[in-house]
Subunit: 342 residues, 4 copies
Amino acid sequence: MLVVMQSHATPEQIQAVCARIESLGLKAHPIPGALRTAIGITGNKGAVDLGILEALPGVVECIPVSKPYKLVSRDAKPEDTVLRIPTPSGEVVIGGDKIALIAGPCAVETEEQLMTVAERIAKTGVRLLRGGAFKPRTSPYSFQGHGEAALKLLAKARERFGLGIVTEAVDHESLDLVERYADVIQIGARNMQNFSLLKRAGRAKKPVLLKRGISATLDEFLMAAEYLLSEGNYNVMLCERGVRTFADHSRNTLDLSIVPAVKKRSHLPILVDPSHGTGLRSKVLPLSRAAVAVGADGLLVEVHHAPDQALSDGMQSILPSELEQLVAEARQIAAVLHRSVN
Amino acid sequence: MLVVMQSHATPEQIQAVCARIESLGLKAHPIPGALRTAIGITGNKGAVDLGILEALPGVVECIPVSKPYKLVSRDAKPEDTVLRIPTPSGEVVIGGDKIALIAGPCAVETEEQLMTVAERIAKTGVRLLRGGAFKPRTSPYSFQGHGEAALKLLAKARERFGLGIVTEAVDHESLDLVERYADVIQIGARNMQNFSLLKRAGRAKKPVLLKRGISATLDEFLMAAEYLLSEGNYNVMLCERGVRTFADHSRNTLDLSIVPAVKKRSHLPILVDPSHGTGLRSKVLPLSRAAVAVGADGLLVEVHHAPDQALSDGMQSILPSELEQLVAEARQIAAVLHRSVN
Amino acid sequence: MLVVMQSHATPEQIQAVCARIESLGLKAHPIPGALRTAIGITGNKGAVDLGILEALPGVVECIPVSKPYKLVSRDAKPEDTVLRIPTPSGEVVIGGDKIALIAGPCAVETEEQLMTVAERIAKTGVRLLRGGAFKPRTSPYSFQGHGEAALKLLAKARERFGLGIVTEAVDHESLDLVERYADVIQIGARNMQNFSLLKRAGRAKKPVLLKRGISATLDEFLMAAEYLLSEGNYNVMLCERGVRTFADHSRNTLDLSIVPAVKKRSHLPILVDPSHGTGLRSKVLPLSRAAVAVGADGLLVEVHHAPDQALSDGMQSILPSELEQLVAEARQIAAVLHRSVN
Amino acid sequence: MLVVMQSHATPEQIQAVCARIESLGLKAHPIPGALRTAIGITGNKGAVDLGILEALPGVVECIPVSKPYKLVSRDAKPEDTVLRIPTPSGEVVIGGDKIALIAGPCAVETEEQLMTVAERIAKTGVRLLRGGAFKPRTSPYSFQGHGEAALKLLAKARERFGLGIVTEAVDHESLDLVERYADVIQIGARNMQNFSLLKRAGRAKKPVLLKRGISATLDEFLMAAEYLLSEGNYNVMLCERGVRTFADHSRNTLDLSIVPAVKKRSHLPILVDPSHGTGLRSKVLPLSRAAVAVGADGLLVEVHHAPDQALSDGMQSILPSELEQLVAEARQIAAVLHRSVN
């Protein structure tokens, strides 16, 4: 934390700020400049909210310096975290030089729908299946998912096609169920700061895929992951899925620059969801290529064999034939980065 | 919903879109223009996700027309909803020509702190006390509130000073407790789309104060309220608390224009929180005046008798003496709008 | 500027950064912390772009500390700037305890239109007339203003009704004309960073009203004003007119919190334009009240006697009868702040 | 345009809106729905501002349907525009299956600097050189470019290394000079809606590279290009350079999804500037790869042989050795899309 004083701050005001800092058990380092004095602070373990200094006489502003996250930081663990997801057809590796693809329908609708899509997906070589059993929906009148029945269908598809299962939990009750049936627990964008749910997921025995909130900063995103690690779950992967901006040509603005930014700050792998990130089928392939090219550790893609019949998000689902093309292009671009898709 | 066709769309493409619409049980109304054809759709009860039409050949885009909310809409109830909050010192009225003030510390810290602030607040004539028992915090290492112990202190302040209690619930468990001890259940900005929590609050027997999410559109905000009403709880008040933008001169950008926008669309009362809306003590009074002037039905303000000792959000809390000035100015500006503070 | 080093930065890296700083003629102040070292920099007169330090080995980031503006700063001039605009009916004062109202049509259309509106405006007691002669329009096919012919009509309205004239210049040529005919030169939001135009306006002999760009930060806004002052024109007033955000319930999001923020940093007066700030007639009165309540030094409002016939921006223009109500409410709210409308 | 009526709008109100539409010379198409009536409008040539209908009794809102751009639209010209930039070493092609690279320093500083960088750039095979002679800077006290002297140095580099020249014009005077010395006239983001400058550039005899404004929507971006085409200049290429959002981990948020969006709406080529788009050297290569992968027609990259000595934007400039890697990766990824770098 750095406290910036007004240019006409008196020596008494500067001294008072230093005294206040020391009274909090911290150390003050005044830096007299030509125009104004700034005061550096060291020794803060994160317990003290230093914003209060901004209200002291003569202070212009307080500038945070240290980042508040610990366990997710590269300072804590310099080497990349590599996740290994067990599936009936062997481990899928996420991170390091391995890129993972996760594909499937937005929601599990019927057994026929799920098995049809899952079979097509398995044929492309993709080994992780996504599909919503609990759907957070803006409207109370929209389809909210089939719950445990959908989880059972996912488990069936798992065994039949050798696919690992990724699916979302929305509260404690659904998390208990997802933890039982699935291989990866997804926490959605709307729940990125549902801290009660994060703590529960941090105590789960399965890996967690944490989506970025629609207006989350990098720090907030990493702090949400910190909740998971601080409860003991180190098997965490992040996922960019687009942020909310003024731009109206796509549903959200996919922020690919967060991929290298996460990799600089944290050891956790980061995936990209181009389906929610754009909201439009015609943009899924271009942005999937871009995500692999920017260095993402995986993709999370919505696929439906009959998107215009889908109960939700049909307009952003690609066809199985488009998934084939996506897989081929992802492999080629991964090779340019000396990585491979598994 | 309106489907806009490309200027060179063929009659067959237009016909195919109409047929698809009719196959969904809806009615298609083609409108041939000089440049292109648009197709109006009627008969949709909200169950069908029409975005899928965007993927049909010849379609440029789909434009939603009808608003998805029902019970919160002025169409459903033209007259203003007026809430009556019972307190030991009589009802507090929110809405219509009455403006209500809610004040108190960010978090309940100690009995001495709470009683000191509550007494000062009661003396200004404010009759609703806010204070956090469960605190959603960005960092897992920050103070998270004293839980039920804090609720017991709030109940004690309630009886001693005749104040109604407003406090936040963050999950099902805390909501059970808040419903027991408090007069108004607050749902925070981070949980505005925690639909599982909204459904539980919709079944509660106490009024709910619902804060706008940090990047929620007007429609999403009203749809979150719709979750509450659709479960049977009609005692709902909304609260603007600032949105996230590029602007860096205040913590959030307080969006006062949503007040007349809500009043046009919905019958629900809307309050403003200038403390979180600005994040800075020096802006709380100016923005409080502005909120009353724009037509808000109340204010939610953080007050602390020693803000530089506060465990959280000290920099945005005003002093009891500033609250006195705020109350006086709110009364005078309310009178300009032919309203009164109660 | 503060340079933050990585927690595992070596002493050699820290020394190299300090050496680089000193080589630029500046002074380095290392602050060793528990986790990491930060390095304060003093002596920078603004000529050196210190962002380059971010690329040195061991550096995490560079944090700017000093604000780059000088002449517009309260550090340079602690007391409020008060502008006095001469009009045929006496001076209009802007700033200090005086609030000024500026009203008129979006564009000057015909002599009849302008005289009709101007007469109605003058009757309400408003003494500054706005009206566009040069209109920056998103489309090349939209009405672009009547140019010098419109300026002549404004000059005629000036003499007939005793009104000062405020009108926009969009390039050097139009600025020459506006400087000749008008009392205040307006620089629009789209030109806030048209530095060539700002330099020309800084050499003009008339006061300048500078609108905030649609996504300008406070610093950028004040730096644009600095261009004007640095060329010798100290008669500058700022104007907030809404910023671009994700919110879709009004054309722009009026950011009233910038009013107290400007007043803290700068001595310049700041007005608010609720017409462009909201884009909707029904929101102009509520937001006008809010702007006066938050402490703005004036309002810039679009008025048209027949808004549904207007050639541009009719939907955000209020009627002369609404202007009467606006003036009355502004006077009452100004009184609460111990100010008066002139 | 579609006018949405209130659910309780009377038949008289609906009729009045239709009458108003017809009085404007347009055609009204009422669409009665179960809940409410909507009214489609056809026949508008863009001259009428239909927003005024929003103020009529019984109207909820007006929804624009037709896009306002004409010459830039794919409706007007279905096939891709392919630009051919003549250089001393032959044509550079932009668009179609060809990708073009433009590289160079942010600003032309000295002859030695420019020749050193230009030689290194030419060796990588890049054939278009960028370099600022006129620099729009936030602060009036920052380096503003060497003007015509810099243009002369660029012309010298052109002849010596066979490079085409791309450089920015900021007003009429500088545009006259740039048109004389350079091969491509750049219009910067801050001037995207400087319509006076756009009209002048539309009459220039050289191709124009138009950068997206920092908060421009797709429609505004295309309308700015429409200004150029409507004055007769069809040699236009667009350039995405990042938009302003709440995100603070990069200087701007590079919006790659606009590339497929532009290609759907318009026939003009679109490039990407990853240097301004991220503001950080370490992100330039990853985002350059992503830009080619998403389908951009070219890259505009800042290169400096000694970035820590640069007079401006040093922290986002890459080294010549990094440019070599960028070129190699761009070639490989272009091949995945069946395109080639020239």
